[in-house]
Subunit: 300 residues, 2 copies
């Protein structure tokens, strides 16, 4: 019987430990106070919790192909570094201008804007360094496929393009379809890349990759919709960040279109669709099943 709480906690601990070891001045930068400050900002933006859902998805997708969890850790760290850099940059005054993240000061509040920009740039760069390293996978062709996948998930056609759409959308004139494209890029693309990277690690064939991609796209939609619902229903204390921001900004979301109850019903439909995509995989996919359900039920 798959235990989501135990598996996700163990995965998050493994990510935290590995990230902690990785982001040190000895590993990445030279000596001196400037290097110390850069590394400290990178650590502030990556350590100290977070649910580590993307590395969990890498690990759970790899598990379908009998890849042991420790072999999925490096690709998981790479995706997590991309996620963390994007939060650091998105929180900047020029972007979303957030002071709090996971209940702690954002990187530019704890350090300064220039340091936050550079810490994000460095994390983005070293994510690809991790994938290129021998610790990632023995076969260079697999490492290259992982780089390609992470670029697709995080670049102009994925996460960064979605963030750009989000910013432009706040200026008004976004339709429901525009919102859905924006979400599928801003949040969905990296979730999709996480699942596919697990599948690539496992040497998935085209059919399995396609089913897992469909799962990941539905899971990403569920994740974002749950986030939009929480923005309306949760308190800043339970979220560890400001809430009600979408409404305050007059931002269109599915919740503003469907209402909270309508959005919850839609969320259930989407999760069921995600589960349907995993039909052929048997109990090895119970991790991915549990994560899709978790996306719909989470309270922060």
């Amino acid at each position: 019987m798959y235990d989501f709480a135990a598996d996700s906690a163990e995965s998050a601990r493994a990510v935290e430990t590995a990230m902690e070891r990785l982001i040190t001045a000895n590993q990445l930068s030279g000596p001196g106070p400037a290097a110390d400050r850069l590394i400290a900002a990178m650590r502030h933006g990556t350590l100290g919790g977070g649910k580590r859902l993307r590395p969990l998805l890498v690990r759970q997708a790899a598990n379908i192909f009998n890849i042991p969890a420790p072999q999925a850790i490096v690709p998981g760290l790479a995706v997590e570094m991309i996620h963390c850099y994007s939060l650091i940059h998105d929180d900047l005054p020029a972007m979303d201008d957030d002071d709090l993240r996971r209940g702690r000061p954002t990187v530019h509040k704890a350090y300064d804007d220039a340091t936050a920009i550079l810490a994000g740039d460095a994390l983005l760069t070293h994510a690809f360094g991790l994938l290129a390293g021998a610790d990632c996978h023995a076969d260079p062709a697999v490492r290259i496929a992982l780089v390609t996948e992470l670029v697709a998930g995080s670049g102009a056609g994925g996460m960064v393009g979605g963030q750009m759409r989000d910013i432009e959308g706040e200026k008004g004139g976004f339709s429901g379809d525009d919102i859905s494209v924006m979400h599928s890029m801003k949040t969905g693309a990296l979730i999709r890349a996480s699942v596919r990277m697990g599948a690539i690690l496992g040497g998935a064939d085209a059919r399995a990759l396609s089913a897992l991609t469909a799962y990941a796209e539905a899971a990403g939609r569920a994740f974002q919709l749950a986030d939009d619902i929480l923005d309306v229903t949760a308190t800043p204390e339970s979220m560890g960040k400001a809430t009600g921001k979408d409404a305050a900004a007059g931002k269109q979301t599915l919740v503003s279109q469907l209402g909270v109850e309508g959005a919850r019903a839609r969320l259930t439909e989407i999760v069921n669709h995600a589960l349907g995509c995993l039909r052929t995989f048997g109990p090895k996919a119970d991790g991915l099943r549990a994560t899709a359900r978790y996306f719909a039920s989470r309270e922060h």
Copy 2:
């Protein structure tokens, strides 16, 4: 007889053409006005000239190993994208706060700060996508080696770490050694990576790679010292950007330590050292020789 003017102009044209084709919404992002804006900002930050010295170095180093210039273009584009993203981010108000670059408005002036941050992030990401693509090199192991090299040149132990040191150094207390480490990281590391990527493309053995690395490190020092001299001696019109900024900011450079004439003498020594590193390579290295001399003689 090697013709630097012709070779560098041809190389710059090839980079411009390939970059122009590459950075389009069809290639990188989806349709819509937000994608158009992101792509336009990425184009603003990469097209319209620039000397393209880093792709030239990739090409010239690869030439030693009989790699035809067209086969060096993709790695050259990747290095150039990294260089361009770093200029976009460095020009931001939170960093160097520059309004002009190559005589044109900087990206955040032409668009806005958020767009400039995202355009830089996207260029950084897609640089690695280029290296991972089949167009880069037939052998995935070579592509992985190129990714590793570019990460080393541009991450916390290279360019980004150097920029962080530069910012901290402006707060005072930098010694001559600190300045030299800062320069070797901020500017030198990417020049080093460019030369080494050309060597990796060419399948250089350890001895050749080591000689070319020593050349590149000297060339990088020459490049930065020439820049510092120009900051004192050139006009904003000839440079297409503000000058006298180092002195105005009270920034320590080798020029402030040695005086202009002393710095020019040091520059000649460094270039001679760079040329010495190429001793064993014969006429195939005339390109790299000419570039080192060019670094010392350039007027903008």
